[in-house]
């Protein structure tokens, strides 16, 4: 190897390492579509939530202070081209979190949300990974593109899975919540259905609605109110909803209000899909108190990213109050509502309410059900 060769080597090596090989390219999706009829479509075994005990984010010698970051995105038809773009964009997220030192030991999980009323594959959930295996999982997500015309998708099933079938050391060992981002454009169903209904509700599949029993395999006594499952979820995860442009309901007031009702101000409108990884990275960085919005935007500019303005707009509501003061005082900046922070502190000692020891999740009874059955839903 002679002089002058190194730059080609560096460039070629970077390209070679980034190149997706046959096995982990987005070809699970293509392969399934090409080889099977729609009614035979299934999730990749690595992503099938059925019968899964827990997806775990664990500390290790190499990653002593793991931080769980989960990103679930809607893959139904109303999302248009968005899921494919997300599948291409999200692999950057890990680098972004690490590159600027926002998080020392992130562990990322990716998943996909469909519609349990009419989709073959209403939920896909990967594993928390701290290396390139997360890319493989992202590549194995089936972009079913289904969904019905009823402006609701089964986000609540995803929330149920994350609340009851994940176990994360950042929370369990250190009382530090993980991060969960849900990217979608529609509403939750009002309840987490314990089991399916035989009567077809809507949609072209005529398969009828499926519930927790059919999709995840748990036997619940009763349905759970969607607001309750989000309340439960938010004990363990700082949960955000991202409504991207390019989807059917971008900017839709009803959708935004619905999610604000569930997540408070943790609702982000994103007008540039290419900025999704930057938006998530900065949100986590601000949440971790390792970066303020201004510094984060400066980082983006320095990296030559054009996403800055979109991210700035998207995060404008989150960045108040100015997080840097809190970061400077050693406290963790909390862009979410204060009540949740109070919970967190309290639960640090007592390991937080009914989420104490590791109850076998499949048998955990529903204790949080409130009298909301008659309540008007959005």
């Amino acid at each position: 190897m002679g002089s002058g060769r190194w730059s080609h080597d560096a460039y070629d090596a970077a390209a070679a390492y980034r190149a997706r090989t046959g096995r982990d390219a987005f070809d699970y999706d293509a392969g399934i579509r090409a080889s099977r009829r729609r009614q035979d479509w299934t999730a990749h075994p690595d992503l099938d939530p059925y019968g899964v005990d827990v997806r775990e984010s664990r500390d290790s010698a190499e990653h002593p202070e793991s931080l769980a970051v989960a990103v679930l995105f809607d893959v139904t038809g109303s999302m248009g081209y968005v899921p494919r773009r997300l599948q291409e964009k999200l692999p950057q997220l890990f680098d972004l979190l690490l590159d600027r030192g926002y998080v020392a030991h992130p562990q990322l999980l990716f998943g996909a949300i469909g519609d349990a009323t009419c989709d073959r594959v209403p939920l896909q959930i990967g594993q928390f990974e701290s290396d390139n295996r997360m890319d493989e999982q992202l590549g194995r997500i089936l972009l079913e593109g289904g969904g019905g015309g009823q402006k609701t998708e089964s986000y609540e099933l995803a929330a149920y899975f994350m609340a009851r079938h994940t176990s994360i050391d950042c929370w369990e060992k250190r009382g530090k919540r993980g991060y969960l981002f849900i990217i979608g454009d529609e509403l939750n169903y009002p309840r987490v259905y314990a089991r399916g209904a035989n009567a077809p509700v809507t949609g072209y599949d005529r398969g009828g609605r499926r519930g927790v029993a059919e999709v995840i395999g748990d036997r619940l006594q009763d349905d759970i109110d969607t607001r309750d499952i989000y309340a439960e979820l938010r004990e363990m995860y700082d949960t955000y909803y991202i409504l991207p442009s390019g989807t059917s309901y971008a900017g839709d007031r009803q959708v935004l209000d619905h999610w604000r009702g569930l997540l408070g101000q943790n609702v982000i409108e994103l007008d540039d899909l290419d900025a999704v990884s930057e938006t998530i990275a900065l949100t986590v960085g601000i949440g971790e108190g390792t970066i303020g919005l201004d510094d984060g935007l400066a980082d983006l500019r320095q990296q030559g990213s054009t996403a800055g303005r979109s991210v700035e707009r998207a995060l404008a509501t989150l960045a108040h109050p100015a997080p840097r003061d809190r970061a400077a005082s050693g406290d963790r900046a909390a862009p979410h509502d204060r009540a949740a922070s109070g919970d967190r502190v309290a639960s640090r000692d007592g390991r937080g309410g009914d989420r104490g020891g590791r109850v076998p999740v499949a048998r955990r009874s529903v204790t949080r059900r409130r009298d909301t059955r008659g309540a008007r839903w959005v």
Partner: protein, 492 residues
């Protein structure tokens, strides 16, 4: 530790000469052969590299004619066996990507999936290579015969700057990666400037630069030893130094794609199946046991592999230490070679080892039992031998002799005494002795395997009659016998 190849669970393959004995083909045979057997427990879980780096060149020829010279990938790759670069190995991510592309072109599916790297493994960068070439150019006529890719510089830098050395694990942290690459860049700039701008005189390296604060330490000793050998002459031309940002991009991509491992990986692999440790270079080039200064910056004996196995809790009784030798001696590059006989070269076909651009000519000579005995001794013994190039020996016929002893200064020498460990002064005396020695050459009276078994006291477990896996086979006769060769023929 007294296990034959068939009984032992794990195998360490080391070259008992100066390199090029055929470790690659033996590893290919071991992995391919076991992959074909029925017992899953005997399957090779991984090939582990325990020394050296991208300068290794282990040529494997497959039955279907495919051929590849393995550098960082283990020679079990064609058999689908994954490779672990342990913390004793050096990794060059840029060259690794090139090699993966070459393997993919040969039909290996997703070669990068077959590589994992210990976080502790040192990274060889183009910065090290640039310093390497500048230093070699400055040495002029006294060039060491380096490979020119910066292996020695990488080890030297790590010894001198243990806290700044770039290791595979650093690619996971962008901040640390940047910091260390910038430090490397500064070091390379300063060093190359010193080498090219001011024509060096005499022992200009002594006490300067990397050796300075560490003289007396293990690193300093090694550095001093190396530097004594090279008297720089004319200054070479400067080359453009790599851009740090470009390297960061490449190394970050490497970190994202390649599985990086930590403690416990060897134990995990050992539990999964057989481990084959593929040595690089040869025992006679060992940094502490070789003929100083014509050595490599690497421990080429079984020591590193045994250390890794011990850490993994593997019973030493489960290990076979397999020494590999040709039926004649070879040497690539400068250094003593008592039994060297250039007139043999036309008889000994050498399709894969030409004259190296940086290393110099490929040299051949007669089998040297004095050196082999020494190699086995400094290895702490071997459990079995693999004898390669029996086909070449058959072709060369009785022109090939055996050096049973040396004559030097009126003394007959049959054994070289291993000195105290890390005593480079002793190694220099051995070098001087070897340079002055004349070999006593005799015609081999027995088959090569029988001769080697008798002379070294180590049984022959594999004989190789050609580059392909099918050319190897375990012997069926009792090699401790002194009877004449039974007229063995190559198995096609």
């Amino acid at each position: 530790m007294d296990r034959t190849l068939a009984e032992a669970r794990h195998v360490i393959v080391a070259d008992l000469g100066f390199g090029d004995a055929g470790k690659g083909t033996i590893v290919d045979w071991l992995t391919g052969r076991v992959a074909a057997t029925a017992r899953p427990a005997a399957r090779t879980a991984a090939v582990l590299r325990f020394n050296g780096g991208a300068q290794a060149a282990h040529t494997v020829v497959r039955a279907d004619g495919r051929s590849h010279t393995f550098a960082q990938f283990g020679a079990g790759t064609f058999a689908g066996v994954p490779t672990l670069l342990t913390r004793h190995a050096l990794v060059d991510p840029l060259a690794l990507a090139r090699e993966a592309a070459a393997l993919a072109a040969l039909g290996v599916p997703d070669p990068l999936d077959l590589i994992s790297v210990d976080r502790g493994a040192l990274i060889t960068t183009p910065l090290h290579a640039a310093v390497n070439r500048a230093r070699e150019a400055a040495r002029g006529g006294a060039a060491h015969g380096s490979c020119g890719i910066g292996i020695g510089e990488t080890v030297a830098y790590a010894l001198a700057h243990p806290d700044l050395a770039l290791r595979a694990g650093d690619t996971e942290s962008p901040a640390r990666l940047r910091r260390r690459l910038l430090a490397l860049h500064d070091w390379a700039t300063t060093t190359i400037h010193a080498l090219t701008a001011t024509p060096p005189q005499g022992e200009w390296l002594a006490g300067r630069d990397i050796a300075g604060p560490h003289a007396g330490s293990r690193g300093g000793e090694r550095l001093a030893g190396r530097q004594r050998a090279g008297l720089p002459a004319a200054a070479g031309g400067a080359e453009a130094l790599p851009d740090v940002e470009e390297l960061i991009r490449a190394y970050r991509a490497f970190a994202r794609r390649i599985r990086l491992t930590g403690d416990g990986e060897v134990a995990r692999l050992a539990a999964a199946g057989r481990l084959v440790f593929e040595g690089a270079q040869g025992v006679l080039l060992d940094e502490w046991r070789g003929f100083d200064p014509h050595t490599t910056w690497s421990t080429t004996t079984f020591a590193n592999a045994l250390e890794l196995l011990a850490e993994a809790g593997v019973d030493a009784g489960d290990v076979c230490r397999l020494g590999v030798t040709r039926t004649y001696a070879t040497r690539h590059g400068a250094g003593p070679f008592p039994s060297e006989d250039p007139s043999l070269a036309p008889l000994l076909a050498e399709p894969h080892n030409g004259t190296g651009r940086w290393q110099g000519a490929f040299r051949v000579g007669h089998l040297d039992l004095v050196l082999l005995r020494y190699a086995v001794a400094v290895c702490g013994g071997a459990d079995a031998l693999a004898v390669t190039h029996l086909d070449t020996a058959a072709t060369a016929g009785d022109r090939l002799k055996v050096a049973t002893a040396w004559r030097a200064g009126g003394t007959r020498i049959t054994r070289l005494r291993p000195g105290p460990f890390t005593d480079l002064t002793h190694q220099r005396r051995l070098t001087d002795l070897a340079l002055a020695a004349t070999p006593e050459l005799v015609a081999p009276a027995r088959s090569w395997p029988a001769l080697l078994t008798d002379e070294l006291g180590v049984p022959v477990a594999v004989t190789s009659w050609g580059p392909r896996s099918g050319d190897k086979h375990p012997p069926t006769m009792d090699f401790s016998s002194t009877r004449e060769d039974r007229g063995r023929v190559p198995v096609p």
